[in-house]
């Protein structure tokens, strides 16, 4: 589609787009730049090029934020959540897409409704309930909380993938005597696996970045997630911004690398999930 021919308009458009690009990247550039600088030089001028690269910012950040431990916790939590969400949501999405149960509509509305519920509406009884059952500081328990939070999103996204599968495939399998379970695992799942991969990526990202639940439920030092230990570090040593930015970079780099490699999946998953329903 061509909207305008005028060269001037095109130049202006690009100028605006580049300007916004710089606005978006400026804080991130500061993060990158200052992760390599000694604190004194940041205070002198946060915009300046590093006089000497301070690689020890990273080693100090790694040990002070206890990333060896907390990143492992974050990864475990993300892994558990991905498995739980993908397993439960693909089943539900299949049933809803094919309207296998009579109450599919009520269930859909119910799930849509819970996506808009404020976390505070269930957080307090959940916390004190978990405390009583000894589930606070349990990564497994938190992965169930995440699953409850994000499975409606996963169901809605996966549903569109199931809808795209031709009905004939399923019918053929049923005629050949396959059970509903076999139809689901042998016929449907392999076809929608790209959708499941997208869901896994997005859920992994959400889980890695999640703040409120992790802060509330994983308080003990050895059960903190990386995001929480970063928050604690940046509160404690709040004068050493070189170290804090180095920690921020360590926390963010894996995410950015994944995002750049798999941008289409991320964008389709995150934007598509809330648009298409």
């Amino acid at each position: 589609m061509k909207l305008i021919e005028s060269r001037a308009t095109l130049v202006l458009t690009y100028a605006a787009l580049v300007f916004l690009l710089l606005v978006t990247l400026f804080p991130l550039a500061l993060l990158l730049l200052n992760a390599l600088k000694p604190s004194a030089q940041i205070v002198a001028n946060p915009l300046a090029w590093p006089e000497a690269f301070r690689w020890d910012n990273f080693t100090r950040a790694w040990s002070d934020a206890r990333f060896g431990r907390t990143m492992l916790n974050s990864a475990t939590l993300a892994g558990l959540t991905i498995v739980l969400v993908c397993a439960t949501s693909s089943l539900t999405a299949y049933v809803l897409a094919r309207r296998k149960i009579r109450s599919w509509k009520i269930l859909t509305f119910y799930l849509l409704g819970t996506t808009t519920a404020p976390i505070q509406l269930f957080l307090f009884p959940l916390y004190f309930g978990f405390a009583r059952l000894g589930l606070v500081n349990s990564v497994v328990a938190v992965s169930f909380v995440y699953t409850a939070l994000w499975s409606p999103f996963a169901v809605m996204l996966l549903r569109t993938y199931f809808l795209a599968v031709p009905k004939e495939l399923e019918e053929a399998a049923l005629i050949d005597g396959a059970t509903p379970w076999q139809v689901f695992t042998r016929v449907m799942l392999p076809i929608v696996s790209p959708g499941i991969l997208t869901v896994a990526l997005i859920i992994g990202l959400y889980s890695w970045n999640e703040f409120l639940i992790a802060l509330t439920f994983l308080q003990r030092a050895d059960s903190n997630t990386a995001v929480v230990s970063f928050l604690l570090l940046s509160g404690q040593y709040s004068s050493d911004w070189g170290e804090i930015m180095a920690a921020a970079l360590l926390l963010t780099l894996p995410v950015i690398v994944l995002f750049i490699l798999l941008q289409r999946r991320f964008i389709e998953g995150m934007a598509g999930g809330s648009v298409k329903g």
Partner: protein, 281 residues
């Protein structure tokens, strides 16, 4: 058989969300410190909120937040999405960069803005001050703290809307655009009569979601100011959180949570209606 398929999702959802949510609604009528036995107090928690100035500040801030996010990021998102449509070449690259802040943890973004930009000591702000500009750290001023937070949220958020609107704009039927062009429509007429009406459902949905999300905003406020200074940037979700876990006034926290939900409820009803329509097809 297929009923068993949906059982895990429903069970997890009920145990984690629905049952505790019902408890919260009940707790709003009790006084409870989280440990000893709850005491029924009727409407006392709501009465207390009615007379609480911090509550009204928080509610006001949520309403300001809603108004801000219904206009600014949606406006920028729409304009930039159209510009991407005009530019075409490089559009994918631009949208990936605009989207990038959305994948980074809020804690990281908040600390970068706080330390590298707003801070009068280590940030760009401090540099400007030393160069003689009368700039202030917005987070430390009661009159600007909320806007300082909103700026960070807005900066990381508009790209998401832009990507969504750009995707929707590309779905507008080619014939409509062609025929408008043949009739000699200017760019603005094209916007007004073809493109915007073409993506109206998407805009509506994003506005509904904005209302819902604006009453849930928590992360950036909690990390950047904890609702301060002097409760000037308090929002309902941080008020509820602080009441429950710092003051151990779980009943009051529950009452605030109920208020948040009531505000979200109308928007949620719209949301379910709009989204549900798509499921009928």
């Amino acid at each position: 058989m297929h009923r068993l398929f949906v059982l895990p999702t429903i069970l997890i959802n009920a145990v984690i969300i629905v049952i505790p949510a019902l408890f919260t609604v009940a707790l709003a009528f009790f006084r409870w410190d989280g440990i000893s036995a709850p005491v029924f107090v009727g409407m006392a928690n709501f009465h207390a909120l009615w007379g609480d100035r911090v509550f009204w500040t928080a509610l006001g801030n949520n309403i300001i937040w809603t108004a801000l996010f219904l206009t600014v990021p949606i406006g920028i998102g729409l304009v930039v999405a159209t510009m991407l449509l005009v530019a075409r070449r490089g559009a994918m690259f631009f949208q990936v960069i605009y989207f990038l802040p959305m994948v980074i943890a809020t804690v990281v973004l908040a600390r970068v803005w706080q330390g590298m930009i707003y801070s009068p000591i280590s940030g760009v702000n401090g540099m400007l001050q030393r160069m003689g500009f009368p700039t202030l750290d917005p987070l430390t001023q009661p009159s600007t703290a909320l806007y300082g937070i909103a700026t960070v949220d807005l900066w990381h958020w508009w790209g998401f809307l832009c990507v969504i609107f750009f995707a929707a704009l590309r779905q507008v039927p080619q014939e409509q655009i062609e025929s408008a062009r043949i009739e000699g429509a200017s760019f603005w007429q094209m916007m007004r009569y073809v493109l915007l009406p073409g993506i109206r459902p998407t805009i509506t949905l994003m506005m509904i979601m904005t209302v819902i999300w604006s009453f849930l905003v928590f992360d950036f406020v909690y990390i950047l100011t904890q609702g301060g200074p002097a409760f000037s940037s308090e929002v309902l979700s941080t008020l509820a959180y602080r009441s429950a876990f710092y003051d151990l006034a779980v009943g009051k926290a529950a009452a605030v949570a109920v208020v948040i939900s009531v505000f979200g409820l109308a928007a949620t009803a719209f949301y379910i209606r709009v989204q549900g329509r798509e499921f009928e097809q």
